[in-house]
């Protein structure tokens, strides 16, 4: 691999990294509380859920799809997990295991429906997942009778506040998933085919691959990560509720897009997505610290999303020049 090629590969992530450092520097300068240990730990916890969902969303968007149902599916997953966790008749460890499997299983099942329907009947995933957004939310409300569940096994409730060498365990889960996702995309056959389909699906099909399998699999993976995000969220909140996760899909999509993944598929990376989630989290936290209200923060966040995509077009031009 020559240096130019490496420079080209790095350009995406480096650009986002620099933007992140710049934003962090601004807040360090203007919000004295920002750099405190407690606040940084806070940011880590705050971005964890979005990061986990965004890892799954990256797979879907790399295939030029979209998953609008992640927020609702997360709520449904918490309810299913909550049903298990509130079973007092079974031993705690079994209950916890069932809850985790249940949450991930529900996520995967919803993802499978999303992927299969959009592939089988060639309906754009935007529409299918919009439907799933309502179905999952409705199912969560129906199953829980619109009630919030709590009083889970003490080991479960306590685990969320644990740390691993000083880092919140929730954030560790997110980082591990980012790392696995990155390895899958960059190093495995599966990841290679995902990128290839995102670039030119017909060409991959005519090379003898079952493209439908990969496209459905991306939604299933996304669903699995939503299930994990649901459990992680419950570790943090110690509740399960059918109204959790409203609007999460938009945060996840924003993180992926800020991270440089193209909505038309084929371009992007897991590291980029992680940096995108960091930018979102740091902005939310920092703007609050310098005294901006909720409304003004939304305006700024919105501007940043648009700015990121506009900048991306320039970055694309630059990388094209470098690749020649």
């Amino acid at each position: 691999m020559n240096t130019r090629r490496i420079a080209y590969l790095m350009l995406r992530e480096v650009g986002i990294g620099i933007a992140l450092i710049f934003i962090v520097a601004l807040f360090v300068a203007f919000a004295p509380m920002f750099a405190s240990f407690i606040n940084i730990t806070n940011i880590f916890i705050q971005i964890s859920i979005n990061t986990i969902i965004a890892v799954g969303m990256t797979f879907v968007i790399l295939l030029a799809g979209i998953d609008l149902s992640v927020g609702s599916v997360l709520a449904l997953s918490t309810i299913i997990a909550g049903l298990f966790l509130t079973q007092k008749s079974l031993p705690d460890s079994l209950v916890i295991a069932l809850a985790i499997l249940g949450a991930i299983g529900v996520g995967m099942a919803c993802g499978f429906v999303n992927g299969y329907v959009s592939e089988r009947w060639k309906v754009h995933s935007f529409v299918v997942t919009l439907g799933m957004l309502n179905i999952a939310r409705g199912a969560a409300l129906e199953i829980s009778k619109a009630r919030t569940m709590f009083r889970f096994p003490p080991e479960f409730d306590a685990f969320g506040s644990k740390t691993f060498i000083g880092i919140p365990v929730i954030f560790v889960i997110a980082i591990v998933l980012v790392a696995i996702g990155s390895v899958v995309l960059r190093r495995t056959v599966f990841g290679r085919i995902i990128y290839a389909i995102g670039n030119n699906e017909e060409s991959v099909r005519l090379s003898g691959h079952n493209t439908r399998f990969y496209k459905v699999a991306a939604f299933v993976i996304c669903g699995a990560l939503v299930g994990i995000a649901a459990i992680t969220y419950m570790l943090r909140l110690n509740i399960a509720s059918p109204i959790l996760g409203v609007g999460f899909e938009l945060n996840a999509i924003a993180a992926v897009v800020i991270g440089g993944t193209s909505m038309s598929g084929g371009k992007g990376s897991m590291i980029g997505t992680f940096l995108g989630a960091c930018i979102m989290g740091v902005l939310n936290n920092g703007l609050l610290l310098i005294g901006l209200g909720d409304f003004a923060r939304q305006i700024v966040t919105g501007c940043v999303i648009i700015l990121a995509v506009v900048l991306d077009t320039y970055r694309n031009k630059a990388s094209k020049l470098l690749s020649q």
């Binding site: 691999m1 020559n2 090629r5 190093r187 495995t188 056959v189 599966f190 290679r192 085919i193 990128y195 290839a196 670039n199 030119n200 017909e202 060409s203 991959v204 099909r205 005519l206 090379s207 003898g208 691959h209 079952n210 084929g266 371009k267 020049l321 690749s323 020649q324």
Partner: protein, 507 residues
């Protein structure tokens, strides 16, 4: 080969230079084009023809040099500037809007209007006129997405002549046309010429330029080799100027390779929408040509064999045993591969590296336990890149940045990587320069010698006659003729190619 005395240059390019990172696309090119002439521009891929065209059309601006157009300084900043000045081009890539009608496409830039609404009656009348002129028998309201490639090409030409222009640039206009359509195109060109329009004509088909052009300019590596009157030069001389070396026989044929036992047999194949069934077989060591007009069902047939499209009926036999091919995956598993006619959209992944494109047919071979072994992948692709003499800076170069000929070699490489036994190639040399074509012919000969069965669909009849052992002629969805090499005869083949359509008219 001296320049002619300049009578009245309408376009005068002086010391034009254009460069891209790492490439000198045009290097001090002087070119004077006379008013009302048909001026052919030839050269290998990457010689600078397209760059020159894009410069004249305002898509690129020269680094240095000057262009005089009609006696005045000419420096278009956009395609619109060029059209306003009277220079129009028909590009190799089509710029049509698929969901709009033929009429709307042709007049897109200047839809006839009445009190702010589109005047559809005038639009359709003028479109019908133009369609007649280019010899297309379709309704003006037909959506472009329903048209075939040849028809789209003719729509592009109709679009170009819909407005009066002083200079018309045609970039490979005949690549997708049948002999009949080419004849019509030439009639249009001659008519425009009598109207005083100057034509810049770019083509790889050298025979053609002898029919239509007054003068020819040869480019090589961004430099002008020379301009000469067409009657003062021969095809071999032009080829020598283009490649800068003597070419051997144009079509290498391995007389020593003799087809043996049947490799793949197709029985009763019907592709969707075709009532006729097709049966034929290809042998080991054989290069089997499929000739026929565009739209005669050649592409549909090979796509059905490969499982790219659903087939209505038919059975395949590989080495005598029946095989089931429902999709490309099945075909590839049985060692059958297809190099599609649209290599950019169906054969390659343009924004990925050469290596990734090559190994995608059998990625498992370059991986261990689901993980890609990048070193192995790189080595394997390097071997093929070298074997096929693909000009790439490295196996990591994006395929997008390769020339057409090299891109086609990458498509070949990916199927060699898979070690396919039956190679089906659909128009493998379309839009490829002479040098690369020759190398592909050599390679196909070598593959046949190794025992592969090769099926090649081509509209270039001399090419098929040059390299094939045997030829099938398609006409209107069925095989109307089969010829052994010793019986190859251009007129007979054309007769077969038209026969299906004549029979229909009689009934």
């Amino acid at each position: 080969m001296s320049d002619m005395d300049r009578i009245e240059p309408i376009l005068d390019l002086q010391a034009i230079a254009l460069s891209f990172p790492g490439v000198q696309a045009l290097d001090a090119v002087d070119l004077a084009i006379e008013k009302g002439e048909v001026h052919a521009l030839v050269g290998e891929n990457g010689a600078g023809k397209s760059s020159l065209v894009k410069l004249l059309c305002g898509i690129y601006q020269p680094d240095s040099g000057d262009i005089q157009f009609g006696g005045a300084h000419y420096s278009p900043k956009s395609p619109l500037d060029a059209i306003k000045a009277g220079i129009r081009a028909v590009y190799q890539e089509f710029n049509l809007l698929s969901y709009l009608s033929v009429a709307e496409n042709i007049f897109f830039e200047a839809l006839p209007r009445r009190i702010g609404f589109v005047d559809f009656r005038t639009l359709h009348e003028r479109t019908e006129e133009l369609l007649r002129e280019v010899g297309l028998d379709i309704a003006p309201t037909t959506p472009v997405e329903l048209l075939g490639i040849a028809q789209m090409q003719l729509i592009e030409i109709a679009k170009a002549i819909s407005t009066a222009s002083k200079v018309l640039i045609l970039d490979e206009p005949t690549a997708t046309l049948t002999p009949n359509e080419i004849k019509k195109l030439f009639a249009i060109i001659l008519k425009l010429k009598t109207q005083g329009v100057t034509i810049l004509y770019i083509s790889h088909r050298l025979q053609e330029i002898f029919e239509i052009a007054d003068r020819v300019t040869v480019l090589r590596n961004g430099k002008k080799v020379g301009t000469t009157r067409i009657d003062a030069i021969t095809v071999p001389e032009i080829v020598r100027m283009m490649v800068g070396r003597e070419m051997g026989t144009e079509y290498p044929f391995r007389g020593d390779v003799v087809p043996l036992e049947t490799l793949l047999e197709v029985k009763g194949l019907r592709y969707r929408g075709n009532p006729q069934s097709i049966s034929f077989a290809v042998k080991r060591h054989e290069i089997l040509g499929i000739a026929g007009l565009v739209g005669s069902g050649r592409t549909e047939t090979v796509r059905a064999i490969f499982g790219a499209d659903d087939k209505a009926a038919g059975q395949l036999f590989l080495k005598g045993a029946p095989i089931e091919v429902a999709n490309p995956r099945d075909a590839v598993r049985h060692g059958i591969c297809l190099l599609t006619e649209d290599r950019k959209n169906q054969g390659l992944i343009l924004d990925m590296a050469c290596s990734a494109n090559i190994t995608i047919t059998d990625i498992g071979k370059a991986s261990r336990g689901g993980f890609i072994n990048h070193i192995l992948e790189s080595d394997e692709s390097k071997r093929l890149v070298e074997k096929l003499a693909i000009h790439a800076t490295s196996v990591n170069q994006l395929v997008r940045n390769l020339s057409g000929g090299n891109q086609q070699k990458v498509v070949l490489a990916k199927w060699l990587y898979r070690n396919a036994e039956v190679l089906i190639l659909d128009e493998p040399t379309r839009g490829i320069d002479v040098g690369a074509k020759f190398e592909i012919y050599l390679l196909l000969g070598e593959l046949a010698a190794l025992g592969k069965g090769i099926i090649i669909v081509s509209s270039d009849l001399p090419e098929l006659m040059g390299i094939c052992h045997r030829m099938l002629v398609f006409s209107k969805g069925r095989i109307t003729g089969e010829l052994e090499r010793k019986d190859f005869d251009q007129e007979r083949i054309l007769e077969y190619a038209f026969s299906g359509y004549l029979a229909k008219e009689r009934t």
